[in-house]
Amino acid sequence: MNAQTPTPQAESRQAEARQAETRQAKTPAGMPAITYNFAYLDEQTKRMIRRAILKAIAIPGYQVPFASREMPMPYGWGTGGVQVTAAILGPDDVLKVIDQGSDDTTNAVAIRGFFETTAGVATTTRTQDATIIQTRHRIPEGALQAGQVLVYQVPIPEPLRFLEPRETETRKLHGLADYGLMHVKLYEDIARHGHIATTYAYPVEVAGRYVMDPSPIPKFDNPKMDDSPALQLFGAGREKRIYAIPPHTKVVPLDFEDHPFRVQHFAKPCALCGAHGVYLDEVILDDRGGRMFVCSDTDYCNTRQAEGHTGEMSAPAPEAAE
């Protein structure tokens, strides 16, 4: 490091090394730089999480307890998803992180940066280029492919928690496959509102056995979980649970014959790319009631715009003559 006669190349190498060090960690003067194991977690923690993942895959929809670690971010910011991603991530993986469908909101940027720093893996915003997609509260609009892993960040993994607060009891209910409580909850929705008013974290039955919380994705995304070619892993850091849906697994939202499960519908297409049949976010434009609805999946919307699709609020194309 201490070149006696610094050549330009040596200086630039040194600068690179210094940059790498500051990427690794900010250290007090004179202290050795802190370096992390690949993907931050130590190997014993990864093994423990990997064992939990294998059991979770073998028992689809069942919540496997795991010894969730303190992470360098607070609970509620995706510590469960981050730990699952860290345990499965390899140097050849390409990582995409989305937060409510978006690649460029705080949570997504921070977690993507975390793995760029601690694992040095390639990252992408393109759904089809990613091998691992960590997500908070959405499933990408574009179809997932075989070999991809979708890692969900989960706040409350227990679908029965707000109906039965005792963990000992909810375990027993799962053990007995006694999901009457959940049906009563959905029925009370109908009695009070005339329809099932649950719009996100809509409970699903996985492979005909366990009732599972799909994490707070809009119920619009529930049909994408069924028979997906991708492997779906769920990590809840604060609640210390991991669960999974293998590829091509039957995932059925709970409902009633006379009140079948329905997804949200939007009156208008995306204002920027004109897409129909996608999940839209409301964007407030001014203080006079102006608003527009745009794709929540930014990659999907950007790709469509690049392909020339336009919506009612699209900027007029500057190179229209081309």
Binding site: R50, A58, G147, R209
Partner: protein, 197 residues
């Protein structure tokens, strides 16, 4: 005293690679997933079985060795040194069971089946088979689009009946990892055998 065989040359990358193969094997039951290892463990431990063990086993997981492995003390030395796992003589107390002679696989009910509240507390069997075969078993279930043919040699003659009985216990039951030269496959408890006819 003979020198101890080496573990993973690069523990971080090699255990991730082994786990990744096992994860996709478990997620796609019966699918034969390639697994390259650079291990030369003491026989009858095979390289793929050793890689699976090193990737999954540590001081938290009691391990049971089948009589073929238990008869070779270098095997126990290798596992103790590289993983720190406690070895147990009681298959029902084991989180992992390593079986080098799968034709003589003990009855499934001698292993831990899990508990109704905690079905994950069951033994994972890691078998070393000689090869994966053309498909006498037709599998269905989570992780399988339609159906998938699967076979391995050697296995006990009543293996199909054991798998069906294991499935009948669902969500309890054993999960099986099968290793052969250069590849792994898995038969988790969720797997069903297609009815003939």
């Amino acid at each position: 005293m003979p020198a101890l065989a080496l573990g993973f040359a690069d523990p971080v990358r090699d255990s991730q690679a082994a786990f990744k193969a096992l994860m996709w094997a478990m997620a796609q039951p019966g699918d034969v997933v390639p697994l390259d290892t650079r291990l030369a463990p003491p026989a009858p431990l095979t390289p793929e079985m050793a890689a699976s063990a090193l990737a999954l086993i540590d001081y938290e997981t009691p391990v049971w060795l089948d009589p073929a492995l238990a008869a070779a003390p270098e095997t126990a030395d290798f596992l103790r040194f590289h993983t720190g796992a406690p070895l147990t003589g009681d298959p029902a107390a084991a989180r992992f069971a390593l079986v080098a002679d799968p034709a003589a696989l003990p009855a499934f009910d001698s292993f831990a089946q899990g508990e109704p509240d905690y079905p994950d507390r069951s033994t994972t069997l890691i078998l070393a088979v000689e090869r994966f075969d053309a498909a006498p078993l037709v599998l269905e279930g989570p992780g399988i689009k339609g159906w998938r043919g699967f076979g391995a040699h050697p296995l006990p003659a009543d293996f199909a009946a054991r798998l069906a009985a294991n499935r009948a216990l669902f969500p309890l039951g054993l999960d099986l990892i099968l290793t052969a030269p250069g590849a792994v496959a898995a038969l988790p408890r969720s797997v069903r055998l297609q009815d003939e006819g």
